[in-house]
């Protein structure tokens, strides 16, 4: 390259960058769009290196007009830049770009196979209906890659003429028929979207009738089912009875698309379900069918998520009572998703005396049943269940948060059977009211055994965090801290989960109590407090001996608030100032400096400047001042 060309090349690169960068930053450019385009075209016509021409193509994709098409299209055969040329041509609206692509793909093309495929791809992306005749010719190209590209492009164009060309190619014995089949389905979808259902279905059926891979047959069958609605149901049943897994899978998939959702046609949905029930019934007749029954049940549940019809529920409940373990479990799960209250009662009967897998499945299913009346079924069972069934029923009270049953569950905390007692405590975690919370607090402070302690601790935490009256809840817990002995730490942990003013005050008092284990627990939870109002408490603990050996921990908790919480910057700066004065550990003072840098602000800058006088952080403070000043300075030069 000559010196003149090098200078020109460097200038063009700068120009292209400015053009593209100007666009990306949204600044108004002084050059008129045509002038900008001409500059970029000039780059394409120059001896500039390819990398810089690629950037010019980028600019033209954003700013180019039909005026640049000729220069851009000249690169359609370039091994490196052809795709850049097409990026630009695909972006420019209007016939000029399409015409250039058609010309490049015509019978006189000089393009190599790969670049020709690219041009054909672009015709498809542009949906160029005028290209259909030449693409139809390319369907018979000796190069299978070109032929496949032509098929795909015709599919995307999706006109009646494109469909005719593809249909004709379907019948031909060509190595790329799979590509044609795929394109037929795509084309059919386009026709369907345009309202031409008859032509679309004809294409789908043509693919189905010919010998193609299971995948292509599956796609075409799905399309035919969805296009035909009611008339497609027999095809759906065929899929669900198909031996090849690929086809059966498509049946399951398509059945989840046909007549589902809030806008479904209820009559069609009913017919589809009826067909599925028949398919389920007949599936018992073969080994392969029996293995698929859990999936059919799952399908029915998915389709009836807003509530199963009587026929669907009856079939599924019968399956839940059957001998096949896999089917039974699938049916139990399905009832949980679509059954009504009577089905819940049925599941509880199934659970009586059942093994652990069935018990767990029944509990999980009923716990989340959305139907009305389920709670009443459960509560009614509390009085009449034996010790074997009570854990399940009580557990469901908790799972479903049946707060009206809290009073009925309370007595079970004293039951002879430990499994019943444990279940009762767990359920109370979900349903107990504030007025009875002390029962759980007492079980934590003075448990019967380790198992009860564990159950009560978990239950108390769950109950405490959901109490609307946080301060009232904290007050109940606070009363027990003094007499809880070694278990007081658990109560302190629970107060941290409760939060609020009373909890904070109680934990602060615990930190200053002089009892080491209590102070340990209290300072630990204060260090993770989720609201900034813990800051004054932590500062006091960090600057006095109130918390004993935990001053350092308190300081770290204080710094955490300064570092992580959304605060007015003046307040944060003041916190940092106080921390610098109070911190005993040099590492904590260094941490303060890091906080100042993290939040550049005139207030934090002032504190950083003050910190320059503190010997063990002087260097860090000076660096921080520089950094903060830099961040606060206005941008050089402006825009």
């Amino acid at each position: 390259m000559t010196r003149k060309h090098k200078r020109w090349s460097r200038w063009c690169v700068v120009l292209v960058w400015a053009t593209v960068a100007g666009t990306s930053h949204g600044r108004a450019d002084d050059a008129a769009p045509q002038a900008r385009e001409q500059e970029l075209v000039a780059v394409l016509r120059s001896e500039t290196p390819e990398a810089e021409k690629a950037l010019a193509f980028k600019g033209l994709a954003v700013h180019g007009s039909p005026a640049c098409v000729e220069a851009v299209a000249a690169y359609l055969g370039n091994e490196r830049l052809a795709s850049w040329s097409r990026i630009t041509l695909e972006a420019i609206p209007g016939n000029a770009a399409s015409a250039a692509l058609r010309a490049a793909a015509g019978p006189d093309t000089k393009l190599a196979s790969r670049q020709l495929v690219g041009v054909i791809n672009s015709l498809g992306v542009r949906g160029d209906a005028a290209a259909v005749p030449l693409l139809a010719t390319r369907l018979g190209d000796g190069d299978p890659n070109v032929a496949a590209a032509a098929a795909a492009a015709l599919g995307k164009i999706g006109t009646a003429d494109a469909a005719a060309a593809l249909s004709k190619a379907l019948a031909a014995e060509k190595p790329d028929r799979e590509a044609v089949a795929e394109a037929c389905v795509v084309c059919g979808e386009r026709l369907l979207a345009a309202g031409n259902t008859t032509a679309a279905v004809a294409l789908f059926q043509a693919v189905r009738a010919a010998e193609f891979s299971d995948q292509r047959r599956a796609e075409a069958t799905r399309a035919a089912i969805l296009a035909q609605g009611r008339d497609g149901i027999p095809l759906l049943v065929d899929l669900l009875k198909s031996a090849p897994q690929r086809l059966f899978n498509m049946g399951l998939f398509t059945a989840r698309e046909l007549a589902v959702g809030p806008d479904r046609d209820p009559a069609l949905a009913y017919e589809v379900d009826r067909a599925l029930l028949e398919a389920f019934t007949s599936s018992a007749a073969s080994d392969a069918g029996r293995g698929r029954r859990p999936l059919l049940i799952d399908l029915l549940a998915d389709r009836n998520a807003t509530g199963a019809s009587a026929a669907v529920q009856k079939t599924i409940l019968e399956a839940a009572r059957g001998d096949d373990a896999a089917v039974r479990l699938a049916a139990i799960r399905a009832i949980g998703r679509c059954g009504d209250a009577s089905a819940a009662a049925g599941l509880l009967e199934i659970a009586a005396g059942a093994g652990p897998a069935v018990l767990a499945a029944v509990r999980e299913a009923i716990a989340t049943m959305p139907a009305d009346g389920v709670n009443e079924v459960i509560v009614a069972r509390l009085a009449g269940s034996d010790a074997g069934s009570l854990p399940l029923v009580i557990g469901l009270v908790g799972d479903r948060r049946i707060t009206t049953a809290a009073g009925a569950v309370l007595p079970f905390v004293e039951h002879d059977d430990p499994a019943v007692r444990t279940a009762a405590m767990a359920a109370l975690g979900s349903v107990i009211e504030l007025k009875d919370l002390g029962i759980l607090v007492h079980r934590v402070a003075d448990p019967r055994d380790d198992a009860e302690f564990a159950a009560a601790t978990t239950a108390l935490k769950e109950a405490a965090v959901r109490m609307a009256d946080r301060d009232g809840c904290a007050a109940v817990i606070a009363e027990a801290i003094g007499s809880a002995g070694p278990r007081a730490g658990v109560l302190v942990d629970t107060l941290a989960d409760v939060g609020g003013g009373k909890a904070l005050a109680t934990v602060a008092a615990a930190a200053k109590s002089g009892h080491q284990s209590l102070a340990d627990a209290a300072t630990r939870v204060l260090g993770k407090w989720m609201t900034a109002d813990a800051a004054p408490v932590l500062l006091e603990l960090a600057t006095t001996d109130a918390a004993g050996p935990y001053r350092g921990r308190a300081m770290k908790g204080y710094l955490r608030i300064a570092r992580q919480f959304a605060l007015p910057e003046a307040e944060r700066a003041e916190m940092c100032r106080r921390a610098l004065a109070a911190a005993q550990d040099p590492a904590d003072r260094k941490a303060v400096i890091e906080i100042l840098v993290r939040y550049p602000h005139p207030a934090t800058l002032a504190v950083a400047q003050e910190a320059c006088a503190i010997p063990d952080v002087a260097d860090e403070a000076k660096a921080a001042v520089t950094t903060i000043e830099g961040k606060l300075a206005p941008p050089a030069g402006g825009t």
Binding site: S24, A51, M467
Partner: protein
């Protein structure tokens, strides 16, 4: 369907047609809980998974797959030999065999009849195209995010997954974490009142059109295949740093790179789940006061912001309704406007955004043919929202999207950025 070696595809298809039950046989589906064999699942009943482009993130995903008793990892494909060897070693060690096969060209891997599903963890450059080719080959797809490079690709991805009957799971694993799910449920079920605003953290609000790094000598294709790495992306000079930075290569495409996609694809996905898995916003504006404000058709605002979050970890989201709000992040914790919103629910706090549950959800749906949480429809809508926001960022002005035609309204400049041609011979 594109192929470089159409003969191998023909051989596969002829096998598939002639003996379809055998050639494409998938495991007979029996729930593992019914086996009672200490949780072990016989190899004949496992889902056969292959991986493509398993790097650092992909190795994590692979670990989640290998934790599942009903997974058999059968093959790895990568343009870098070192990665093929490394992943094969992981899989072989896990299964106690030497049977994990390796491939250079992912099309050969997709031709294999004994692969049921693929884990795609290449860089974003390949995600969408590869996922679609896998679907067309009859494989289910777990695809890392971001899944697409532009609006048009998002729509084609969705349509392809539907057409092919593919179980598709985007790598948006937060939908399967209980605290995020609970937050979204509060919004969807009206517990917060009518939702007025949803907030997403994008981890980046700069969209740009970039240039190239200086050209390096190209590597031996047997060691690292640059042409295949480039794939559908337009030609550019080879640079070793580009090869090493698959995570960022072509994120958002070549015309409009960067932008809100990094965390946006996660956070917007959650926001739209909160608004009943809605379509993307119709209105987008560039940043004002460090916020990008978009508006859904029902008037709810989607706001991208990087500041003023409660410290709940990465990928935070916030949903505001007329009667309450909730905020959640990757720490596993949620913060509510009122404790009454908990209503006694137990919401497990799982921090660190693990993908284990997401992988399990995917595998379950591979068996049932149901829709996983990060399905193609949801992924499409979330990605379109991010791409449209990026276009407003790039153009520096508001844009309006018609969510029926999927065109920007009276906006040729924005419409030019909806799609981008693929380097030949690749096509969507």
């Amino acid at each position: 369907m594109q192929t470089r070696e159409r003969s191998s595809r023909r051989r596969f298809l002829k096998r598939a047609v002639a003996g379809s039950a055998a050639a494409v046989a998938a495991p007979m589906v029996i729930p593992s809980s019914a086996l009672g064999l200490d949780g072990a699942v016989p190899p004949s009943e496992r889902i056969r998974v292959a991986g493509i482009g398993i790097g650092r993130r992909g190795e994590y995903d692979l670990g989640c797959f290998l934790q599942q008793p009903d997974v058999q990892f059968v093959a790895i494909c990568d343009v870098k030999q070192a990665r093929r060897d490394a992943v094969k070693a992981i899989a072989d060690k896990h299964h106690g065999t030497a049977e994990c096969r390796t491939y250079h060209d992912f099309r050969e891997l997709l031709d294999q009849p004994d692969v049921d599903a693929v884990l795609i963890a290449t860089g974003p450059n390949w995600h969408g195209l590869m996922a679609m080719q896998a679907a067309q080959a009859g494989k289910d797809v777990y695809c890392e995010k971001p899944c697409t490079k532009n609006i048009a690709e998002s729509l084609i991805l969705r349509d392809t997954m539907r057409r092919c009957g593919t179980v598709f799971q985007a790598g948006t694993q937060r939908r399967n974490l209980p605290h995020f799910a609970f937050a979204c449920e509060l919004a969807r079920t009206g517990r917060l009142g009518r939702i007025t605003r949803v907030y997403a953290h994008p981890a980046g609000m700069k969209a740009f059109s970039s240039g190239w790094l200086p050209e390096d000598p190209a590597p031996d294709p047997a060691v690292a295949d640059w042409d295949m790495y480039l794939g559908p992306a337009a030609w550019r000079p080879f640079n070793a740093k580009t090869l090493a930075d698959g995570f960022n290569f072509e994120k958002g495409g070549g015309l409009v790179g960067g932008g809100v996609l990094e965390w946006g694809s996660h956070c917007v996905d959650l926001c739209q789940w909160a608004v009943n898995d809605c379509l993307p916003p119709t209105d987008y504006a560039p940043p004002v006061d460090d916020q990008i404000v978009c508006r859904y058709a029902n008037g709810t605002e989607l706001i991208f912001r990087e500041k003023d979050w409660i410290p709940l970890g990465s990928c935070p989201v916030r949903f505001e309704g007329e009667t309450g709000w909730v905020e959640a992040g990757d720490s596993g914790k949620i913060v509510l406007s009122s404790p009454e919103l908990m209503a006694g629910r137990k919401v497990e706090e799982i921090g660190g955004y693990p993908a284990t549950f997401h992988v399990r959800d995917f595998l379950d749906c591979c068996k049932t043919r149901g829709k996983p949480k990060g399905n193609a429809d949801a992924a499409c809508n979330a990605h379109i929202a991010c791409h449209a926001a990026n276009i407003a960022l790039f153009l520096g002005r508001p844009v309006k999207l018609d969510t029926e035609s999927w065109q920007f309204v009276n906006d040729e400049a924005a419409n030019r950025l909806r799609s981008e041609s693929l380097r030949e011979p690749w096509r969507l």
